[in-house]
Amino acid sequence: MSEPKMVQPPARFPTRPAAGTMTRGDFLWMGWSALAAFFAAGAAAGARYIFPNVIYEPSQIFNAGPAKDYDMGVSMKWLNTHRIWIIRIPTGIYAMWARCTHLGCTPNWFPDQDRFKCPCHGSNYTLAGDVIAGPAPIPLWRAKITLASTGDLIVDKGVLADQPPKRSQAPFFLTNSELGLS
């Protein structure tokens, strides 16, 4: 009986693939990555889809008529159509956007208390638009006003200011001399 001979098994797989060869693992990685990339791109495309590119909303610019038509105080003339108060004080005129800076309701003007009060969460503002009570974080916005060649006030709600000194000068506040008022 001869001693059993150690037989080396044939190397079925090379321990290291030749350079440039794709292994099964590489292939699976590639496949799953491609699938993940496909779903990620799909999700991104879906997210982009729900952001509209064109929206049909009313113009933010309107003609508020001649400045001399406004008496001292808060004018409600454009509230129901353009959500703007035209406010005339002894030194000039500004247009305030009737939108509470808290969560967007329309405040009401109470001349006896000299306050704007919001019906939704109780924010209170002064005539100048500053918050004096309630949860609103910033003052009411003033809209840009320009004087047309006809003498009419052109109000643009797309350009806004809420803090002094910006809100206290043109185009957010027009003085009597700028308006040609005595």
């Binding site: 729900i50 952001f51 509209p52 929206i55 049909y56 909303e57 509230l79 129901n80 159509t81 353009h82 959500r83 009737a98 808290h102 969560l103 967007g104 309701c105 329309t106 009401n108 109470f110 208390q113 306050r115 009060k117 919001c118 019906p119 939704c120 969460h121 109780g122 209170n124 004096i132 009570a133 309630g134 949860p135 974080p137 910033i138 803090q163």
Partner: protein, 551 residues
């Protein structure tokens, strides 16, 4: 003359190929095998197990609330589909269609009332179901995940109510959704008015609010979006989650009620199915009676320029509206609701108490039940404040006061850290002080590792507060009401924010302890801030206007 042999006809019908093709099984002889086959061979009934433990049938255990919620969901799906036949989601038409449904369409008013009242009943039923499951500890292992699915379903129930709210296009609808979507605009980072939103370049035409509205203000796109969400997207998601919810309930042996020795199971058909159907029929009759006797409200047509005074949310969002009075929108409208949802989902994972599964166990789970009920009571108190105690200009009116009563303008508010426009002071002073207080509140209950006498702690705090109040009142700084408020809030926060956690959860591991305390301290923070506003006119504890960050 041939006689009519009913039994013979019945036999022939039942044995016909058509009947047998539709309904399988042989002749019904009401054997246990028949009953089980009836459950497992029926696609509608097979969400039940064939047999169930008698304890799961006790109506004083479940109150049938999960089943009733599902019955209401089905009733809402049916009435909703019928309403869709007469409704067009376009601003010029939507309000007219609702008017037509109310005054011109046969059964239209009844269906709309039914839909509205069933929706409100579903909110009640789902909340009550959650409270029941909490009180019976039925969220504990292995049912943690199903509790989380349930919390999502509650959230979606409220979201369905919110999206449905816009569809009539009346004043209430328009302004509720204006406020709701502006809250989304206050989301940190993702909303145009939220804290740190500048970092991502958020504007009114590219933020989260813009996606919800499909524009920069509530308009035609918004109505269409909410319509699609309300009638298709969300109900589909709810349906999928319901299947998951029910399947898990069935897999988890249908009831968490503890096993008893030699417990014999009973057949689901007819014992459970009978109860479910009786409850559902009673509920439908109740809702129909309600819909016949009381009409759903409808205000005047939406006016995007003028808000009603006062503008009140539906009762289930009145708590949220009331909270918005005391906190910035990013806190009250975004952070707190999300914290409530995530906190509820985390409950099964932070509550390690193995006792009280499957029965009402007040004494065995004092901390969990007290804290949960405190949250529920606070939420409903806020609702009550919003519904009954608020009048024109959202001022405080007692329920017995006429809304024509003259109310003085509210006094000016002030900020503790950070006068307007100066960002350095709040950061240099406010962050260390507030951070220190927050850390102390978070850590103290665990760091004091011995049994304190809670009553003595509470008494000490109340005495100190009373002394402070007496001194302040003597100097003319405080009124009696303010001292009373101080005592109330000091007592509440000491007991629920310190004594209870110190007594019950100081031995929890750090991870669970910190998550639990984060929820407890947030709850106490809400109480404290409300007190600070109501009696000391404090607007913000800290404000950093540069990044729109107000606390």
């Amino acid at each position: 003359m041939p006689t009519l042999d009913i039994d013979k006809i019945k036999q022939e019908v039942v044995d016909s190929q058509i009947w047998r093709a539709v309904f399988r099984g042989g002749v019904w002889s009401d054997t246990p095998r028949d009953r089980q086959a009836h459950i497992s061979g029926n696609v509608w009934l097979h969400l039940h197990p064939a047999k169930v433990r008698p304890r799961a049938l006790k109506w004083t255990y479940t109150w049938g609330l999960g089943g009733l919620s599902f019955a209401l969901f089905l009733l809402l799906a049916l009435s909703g589909v019928l309403l869709m036949f007469y409704y067009r989601p376009v601003p010029g038409l939507a309000f007219r269609d609702i008017k037509d449904l109310t005054y011109a369409v046969s059964m239209g008013r009844f269906l709309r009332n039914l839909h509205r009242w069933a929706a409100q009943a579903m909110v009640v039923a789902v909340i009550a179901h959650m409270v029941r499951v909490f009180l019976t500890g039925a969220y504990k292992r292995p049912r943690e995940f199903n509790w989380s699915v349930g919390v999502l379903l509650l959230t979606l129930t409220l979201f369905l109510s919110f999206t449905g709210y816009l569809l009539p296009w009346d004043q209430l609808a328009f302004w509720a959704v204006t406020v709701g979507t502006n809250m989304a605009g206050a989301t940190p980072l993702l909303g145009n008015s939220g804290p740190f939103s500048g970092l991502l370049g958020m504007h009114v035409n590219n933020d989260l609010r813009f996606v919800m509205l499909g524009g920069t203000s509530v308009g035609a796109n918004t109505l269409l979006r909410f319509y699609v969400l309300h009638t298709i997207a969300v109900p589909l998601l709810v349906g999928i989650l319901l299947i998951l919810h029910f399947w898990r309930v069935r897999k988890d042996s249908f009831s968490a009620a503890p096993y008893q020795a030699n417990e014999a199971k009973v057949d689901v058909w007819p014992n459970l199915v009978k109860r479910e159907y009786i409850a559902a029929v009673a509920l439908v009759i109740f809702i129909m009676f309600w819909a016949i006797t009381k009409s759903a409200p409808l205000e005047t047509i939406a006016d995007p320029n003028v808000t009603m005074n006062p503008e009140k949310a539906p009762w289930y969002f009145a708590g949220l509206q009331e909270m918005l009075v005391y906190f910035d929108p990013w806190l009250a409208g975004v952070l707190v609701p999300n914290l409530i949802i995530v906190g509820l989902m985390a409950v099964p994972f932070i509550d390690t108490n193995p006792k009280g599964v499957g029965y009402y166990a007040w004494k065995e789970r004092p901390f969990a039940i007290t804290m949960f009920l405190l949250g529920v009571v606070m939420w409903f108190s806020l609702m009550a404040m919003g519904v009954f105690f608020r009048g024109p200009n959202y001022a405080w009116y007692w329920p017995w006061e006429s809304w024509w009563t003259f109310k003085a303008a509210p006094p000016p508010t002030w900020n503790v850290f950070g006068p307007h426009g100066q960002a350095v002071l709040p950061l240099a002073l406010g962050v260390p002080v507030l951070g220190g207080l927050f850390l102390a509140a978070m850590l103290l209950p665990k760091l004091i590792q011995r049994d304190l006498n809670g009553w003595k702690v509470l008494g000490g705090v109340l005495l100190a507060t009373a002394a402070l109040g007496a001194v302040g009142a003597g100097m003319g700084k405080f009124t009696g009401t303010q001292v009373g408020f101080l005592l109330f809030f000091a007592g509440m926060t000491t007991w629920f924010g310190f004594v209870m956690p110190q007594r019950h959860i100081r031995r929890l591991d750090w991870a669970r302890y910190l998550v639990t305390m984060a929820l407890v301290v947030s709850t106490m923070g809400i109480l404290l801030k409300m007190g600070a506003r109501l009696c000391f006119n404090i607007k913000y504890v800290m404000t950093v206007p540069v990044v729109s960050m107000n606390i």
